[in-house]
């Protein structure tokens, strides 16, 4: 069970139970949906972008704890950041959860996002954690198309 708690950290369980920034964003000017046909996880990310700044972010959807918590922590972490910073954090986060990069993750830059480190031990769950990020990236590129993890 101990390795299960490494995946399901308290912060993750807390964000799963009490998702932050959950719901439709009234003043959103970007929106994208992510869908994982394998397990049915579904996330819609809303963003209010002003020039290169992310002024506001929210999400809606349903899915497993990892996916919902990832969306919640992501929206919390990126609020007020620039689009470029979001791109950089996406790469950091991707490396963090896949464990693919040779470099050790930049835990300072990642901040609270680092709680998803345990995901790398469970390759089948990587898509759960990254789905909201793929939706966000699609939203920032202003592509209205739903993204899927397949």
């Amino acid at each position: 069970m101990s390795d299960m708690r490494e995946l399901y950290q308290d912060v993750i369980l807390d964000h799963h139970k009490h998702p932050r920034n959950f719901g439709r964003l009234a003043n959103a000017n970007r929106r994208a949906e992510g869908f994982n046909p394998l397990c049915g996880d579904r996330v819609t990310v809303y963003a209010h972008i002003d020039g290169s700044a992310i002024r506001d972010l929210s999400f809606e959807g349903s899915g497993c704890a990892i996916c919902m918590a990832s969306a919640s922590v992501m929206t919390d972490s990126l609020m007020g950041k620039s689009v470029d910073e979001a791109d950089r954090l996406f790469v950091e986060f991707h490396d963090l959860v896949t464990g693919e990069s040779a470099q050790t993750p930049d835990l300072d830059a990642l901040g609270k996002l680092a709680v998803f480190m345990g995901v790398r031990e469970f390759p089948v769950r990587v898509k759960c954690a990254t789905l909201p990020w793929h939706a966000l990236r699609a939203a920032l590129k202003d592509s209205e198309k739903a993204v899927t993890t397949e």
């Binding site: 069970m1 390795d3 299960m4 708690r5 399901y8 369980l13 139970k17 394998l38 397990c39 049915g40 996880d41 579904r42 349903s62 899915g63 497993c64 704890a65 990892i66 469970f122 089948v124 769950r125 759960c128």
Partner: protein, 413 residues
């Protein structure tokens, strides 16, 4: 008078026939409760396949040489076993296919091309597996026919009165499952068939989840088509059966073209082979068919009476035990159930539950089980599904229940 008691199943000895069940997963003895997805294979099936490749392998129906003759004998022997297995009148009514999916596609294509036109109707139920939905949808798109869906109720049972109303002079075929793979419901297929026959409408029964659990008699049911997969009934993947009433099968055009399904070919004209070979184009999965024959022998040796009474008791125990777990809600509460128990755990997505259970050595399925319309009906994104075979035990149900407490512990609920 001495009373003769039915032989009960010796589950300890049965389990030793299944080598895969001996292993540990994450340091715990494997509890395999994903039988509805695919069952495990007993030693006699595994041996039949390796013996075939070691001693007999040759193509079927193609050669005068000894191995080809032996291979053909084994292949056709499995056809005869399959005939007896579902009590078909003739071996010519048994078409070997890859599985249930291919069987349904064969009927949707061949029967569809011959009999279904624009404005006609195809009737299915709301609890079908995607493989008994999509081929009919494709047929409807091609032909301009309409798909009509029999609704289900809150227990997960077909609404027979609604079914009666759906049948009309435009109905060309009815296709329903014998047993639902996501709810475990055993449908009243005898009644469904006789109502359709009153109007002269043929019926296809998807028996994928039925044959692993109880005896099927296609003549007693009066089924026109009956489809099942070998891999869900202790045989290998790659071989399944389409039973088709001979008078119907004779009237249908071939499904695929190729070798083996022809009598003669010139560039001007091809004449087709006799039944059932007309529907088996190309080299089949011979070893898998041989393995399917061995699986049928294995099930017969245990006996369906013993299997049924053991499983009924086991599944009733599981239903009772699971419904007592705090936070667990059963999805589907049919009166007549076999094999499958679907449930949700409050506040825990099935994906998370399935993973924590896996860490306890327990294999269940988490997802929509290829029945998205059923999930929509019950307004859940997915369920946890425990599905049973005759090698499962009460102790394994207890392990599942104990592991569900751990799920709630991790989630602090």
């Amino acid at each position: 008078m001495t009373r003769i008691t039915k032989p009960a199943l010796d589950v300890v000895s049965i389990r030793s026939d299944f080598p895969i069940l001996e292993q540990e997963v994450h340091g715990k003895p494997l509890v395999y409760l994903d039988n509805a997805a695919t069952s495990q294979k007993p030693r006699p099936v595994i041996d039949a396949i390796s013996r075939f490749y070691a001693n007999t392998n040759a193509n079927v129906h193609r050669g005068v040489h000894t191995l080809s003759v032996r291979s053909t004998e084994l292949y056709e022997g499995a056809r005869e076993k399959s005939r007896a297995f579902v009590n078909a009148a003739e071996a010519a009514e048994i078409v070997f296919v890859r599985g249930t999916t291919e069987a349904i596609n064969l009927v949707a294509n061949s029967f569809g091309a011959a009999r279904v036109r624009a404005g006609d109707e195809v009737v299915i139920s709301a609890m079908e597996h995607h493989s008994n939905i999509v081929p009919w949808q494709m047929l409807c798109q091609r032909s301009g026919a309409k798909l009509r869906v029999i609704p289900i109720d809150r227990h997960g049972e077909i609404k027979l009165d609604e079914y009666r109303k759906l049948l009309n002079e435009r109905t060309r075929i009815v296709a329903v499952s014998h047993v639902s793979n996501s709810l475990g419901t055993v449908n009243p297929v005898d009644e469904i068939i006789s109502l359709a026959h009153e109007r002269g409408v043929p019926v296809l029964i998807d028996g994928a989840q039925a044959v692993p659990h109880f005896r099927v008699d296609v003549r007693a049911l009066d089924a026109d088509f009956y489809a099942f997969s070998g891999h869900k009934m202790f045989g290998p993947t790659g071989a399944g059966v389409l039973y088709a009433r001979k008078s119907l099968l004779e009237s249908l055009p071939p499904y695929q073209g190729g070798g083996d399904m022809i009598a003669s070919v010139t560039f001007e004209k091809t004449t087709y082979n006799v039944l059932p070979h007309r529907f088996e184009a190309g080299t089949p999965d011979i070893a898998a068919v041989v393995g399917l024959g061995a699986a049928i022998d294995y099930v017969h040796a245990l006996g369906y009476d013993a299997i049924e009474s053991y499983e009924n008791e086991l599944v009733a125990y599981a239903v009772d035990a699971l419904s007592r777990v705090p936070g667990v809600t059963l999805v589907g509460t049919p009166t007549h159930r076999v094999g499958v128990v679907s449930f949700t755990v409050e506040g825990v997505h099935p994906h998370d539950a399935g993973m924590i259970l896996d860490h306890e050595g327990i294999a269940i399925r988490a997802g929509h089980h290829c029945t998205q319309p059923v999930m929509d009906f019950f307004e859940v994104p997915a369920t946890n599904r425990a599905s049973f075979a005759f090698y499962n035990t009460r102790a394994e149900v207890d392990r599942l229940v104990a592991a569900l407490a751990k799920v709630r512990e991790v989630f602090g609920s």
